[in-house]
């Protein structure tokens, strides 16, 4: 019954060790401070116990002490703040060239799709030693993608994409939890992350039935919805040419500039008039309610595939044919 009784979570990602280090520092600090306060109370309580004929000595206070015990903790707090902020900055900044996994959460299930088109439910297979970035959205309520072994957690919201990333360092099977309360089966919305050696991972990738890569699926949807009528790749159409758009700044009709990230592409599909590109008319139909979250992620993946890899050579972007394998990130 109690054969499995851990007291420390397995650190299975490159970020986990950093989080643990700060945590241990804080445990030591908190332990020291608690011990100091408890000892003082105990010592004062015993040393100055009420005795007949012994009066308390009235002490008004001490400015020096007040300043000391305000400034010194504040200094320590600022160190903790900076340390925590550095870890957070790393956690929130996915490295370039990370393998991407699209995650759609719904009550009460995780649906995951790899760039190669492999689909999984409540399971995520990843290789050791590669950066993996998750691009996540929800079909209904707020969920939260939580892998304790990687020390990462990110809420998954309806109506927008949020991202999280990790690089696994230790093969194994780890818990995937939903950490934001989402209704009846919240505690059943769990799964596992399977971290594999690269060779096994390659075998797994080519194992299952695949109906084309995510981007090629996106291309078919792009065709079906009639997008190429306006978004042409050869000549200037009525809509912007989408080649090379992803990740670049876009000037808008109202003078603002936005970066064409996943959320911008998503918004431009669902409610195109929100941010119209400078020089174009707001004539695109609204696709809100017409495309599912899975179709949206495929479309986003396709439009991303039209842009050169972030580290690629400068020059004319070559149109990446749909269905090619994702680029191998450099080790």
């Amino acid at each position: 019954m109690f054969d499995n009784f851990p007291l420390w979570p397995v650190p299975a990602s490159t970020g986990a060790g950093n989080v643990d280090a700060l945590f241990i520092f804080l445990v030591l600090l908190a332990g020291f401070m608690s011990a100091a306060i408890f000892t003082m109370i105990l010592v004062f309580g015993l040393r100055y116990r009420r005795r007949h004929g012994v009066e308390a000595e009235q002490i008004e206070g001490s400015h020096a002490l007040e300043i000391t015990w305000s400034v010194v903790p504040l200094g320590i707090f600022m160190v903790i703040f900076a340390w925590g902020a550095i870890i957070y900055f790393q956690e929130r900044t996915p490295p370039r060239g990370a393998t991407e996994v699209y995650v759609v959460a719904k009550q009460w299930m995780w649906k995951l799709e790899h760039e190669g088109g492999q689909r999984e439910i409540n399971e995520l297979h990843v290789p050791v030693g590669r950066d993996v970035k998750m691009i996540m959205t929800s079909q209904d309520v707020i969920h939260s993608f939580y892998v304790p072994a990687f020390r990462i957690k990110q809420d998954v919201l309806p109506g927008r994409y949020t991202t999280a990333w990790f690089r696994a360092i230790k093969p194994g099977v780890y818990h995937l939890f939903c950490a934001e309360y989402c209704g009846t089966q919240h505690s059943g919305m769990i799964g596992q992350v399977v971290v594999m050696e690269p060779a096994q991972y390659q075998a797994w990738l080519s194992g299952g039935p695949i109906s084309g890569s995510l981007a090629s699926n996106g291309q078919s949807i792009f065709q079906q919805l009639g997008c190429p009528t306006c978004h042409r790749f050869d000549v200037q159409g009525r809509g912007p040419n989408l080649v090379g758009v992803f990740g670049k700044p876009v000037s808008l009709e109202d003078g603002r500039t936005v970066i064409a990230d996943e959320n911008y592409i998503r918004e431009s599909i669902l409610s195109p008039s929100a941010k119209v590109v400078s020089g174009f008319n707001p004539i695109m139909p609204v696709f809100q309610g017409l495309v599912s979250e899975e179709q949206l992620t495929a479309l986003v993946a396709y439009i991303k595939s039209l842009s050169p890899a972030p580290s690629g050579a400068a020059g004319t972007p070559t149109l990446v044919p749909a269905g090619t394998k994702p680029q191998e990130p450099k080790e």
Partner: protein, 544 residues
Amino acid sequence: MATAAITAEREHYLNKEYGIRSWLLTTDHKRIALLYLMSITFFFFVGGFFALLIRLELLTPAGDLVQADTYNKLFSMHGQVMIFFFLIPSIPAVLGNFLVPMMIGAKDLAFPRINLLSWYLYILAGLIYIHCIVTGGVDTGWTFYTPFSTAFSNTKVIEAGLSIFVAGFSSILTGLNFVVTIHRMRAPGMTWSRLPLFIWAHYATSIIQLLGTPVLAVTLVLVVFERAFNLGIFDPTRGGDPLLFQHLFWFYSHPAVYIMILPSMGVVAEIIPCFSRKRIFGYHAVALSSIAIAVFGFLVWAHHMFVAGISLYSAMIFSILSYLVAVPSAIKVFNWTATMYKGSISFTTPMLYAFGFIGLFTMGGLTGLFLAALGIDVHVTDTYFVVAHFHYIMVGGAVMGYLGGMHFWWPKISGRMYPEAWGRLAALIVFLGFNLTFFPQFILGYLGMPRRYWQYPPEFQVLNVLSTAGSTILAVGYVLPMVYFLWSMRYGKIADDNPWGAAGLEWKTASPPPTFNFEETPEVTWEAYNYDQIPAPEEVTVER
């Protein structure tokens, strides 16, 4: 102790009038305090009952005692009852109501009828909430996160929201009454720097109640509108923004934590000087730190949202601001401890609760430093680490302070002494039971057990069993005082006017006090906590 022997009993607020009308239509702040005491005690045991069911369900990894939906309702209603119907009114509405006028030498609060109105609003809110419980309950968590609450939950969200909306007005009126009373009704000579720290704490609390609660009211109305009238405010499919809800909700609900803890800090600042026979160390630092907590408390709400999808830079700003609010809390702990230095200390029940408060609040506060650290928060937020942390503050801190205060002022409230030996025993049981219940949850949280889980992986079981075991001990510790307080009303030793030899105007009037508190308005010519001028009573004897 026979009381029948006393002929021609002195008239006081309890025996001036009898009958149910004399209570339900009273405008005496002391009687209203007792009305509140009975109502919040009722809700405390309702919320406690939910808590015990939660702990029993979590004895085993499988969800087997109750259904998943029932479990979700249990933790939602445990939170809502405990926060809105027990913790927020607890010390202000009971001890604050009873003591604020007396401590500043006033006959009553500034608006006695509004004071009664605030109790009726509380009762109305309570009745709506009880109706909500018995007709199916609510399952949104205490936090009502959207779009779950507005578009997906099929429980009584509107009813719960309206109930808390009404309870909010009760809280606002209490805060308003205290602010005006403290400004306008101080006795001659009771300057701001002679005010007891209990008053400073309640002043700071009242400001939060006045400024924060309306935002909660607005937020709940918006939730009700979206749910009932299909307006798009928070639900993205209707053009709303779910994060907007979280910003609005935490703008109130983070300061609300200070509504719960500041009054307890005020209680502790009365108890420690009394049983150390010393003036408080650093009076002005302790007083102003209450105001600092109230002000900074409004600037840290988004530290509940570090993984919610806010920007990297706003997260950093809210992290650094959260560390600033920790400084005044640290100042308080250091000053209380320093007050004991070279004192003349006795270990009475209130003092034991004050020690318990400092210990548990310190641990709660220090684990708050973990949560404010962005990189750590990502891992432990929404896990049992957070559950443990806020219970250390809100139960370890606030409830320890409340019980300490109840014991300290019980002689004044009831005119009777509680049995000291039982009091000390109960304080010890509460402290041990609390730590056994909640300390394992810190470990569970770092291991990664998410909160609000009806079933959980088997490797978390040992720590959950420890926690459940602790909760039964804690329950005994909470029932005991209720039993012996009731017992003491009939059989307790008659209390002197000032059994502890305490400073403060409330001890200069009779126990129990007359209806208008003082025979004649006192004039204050001394500083607060003038323990050098008050003889210490004989050592409090242990009573059978």
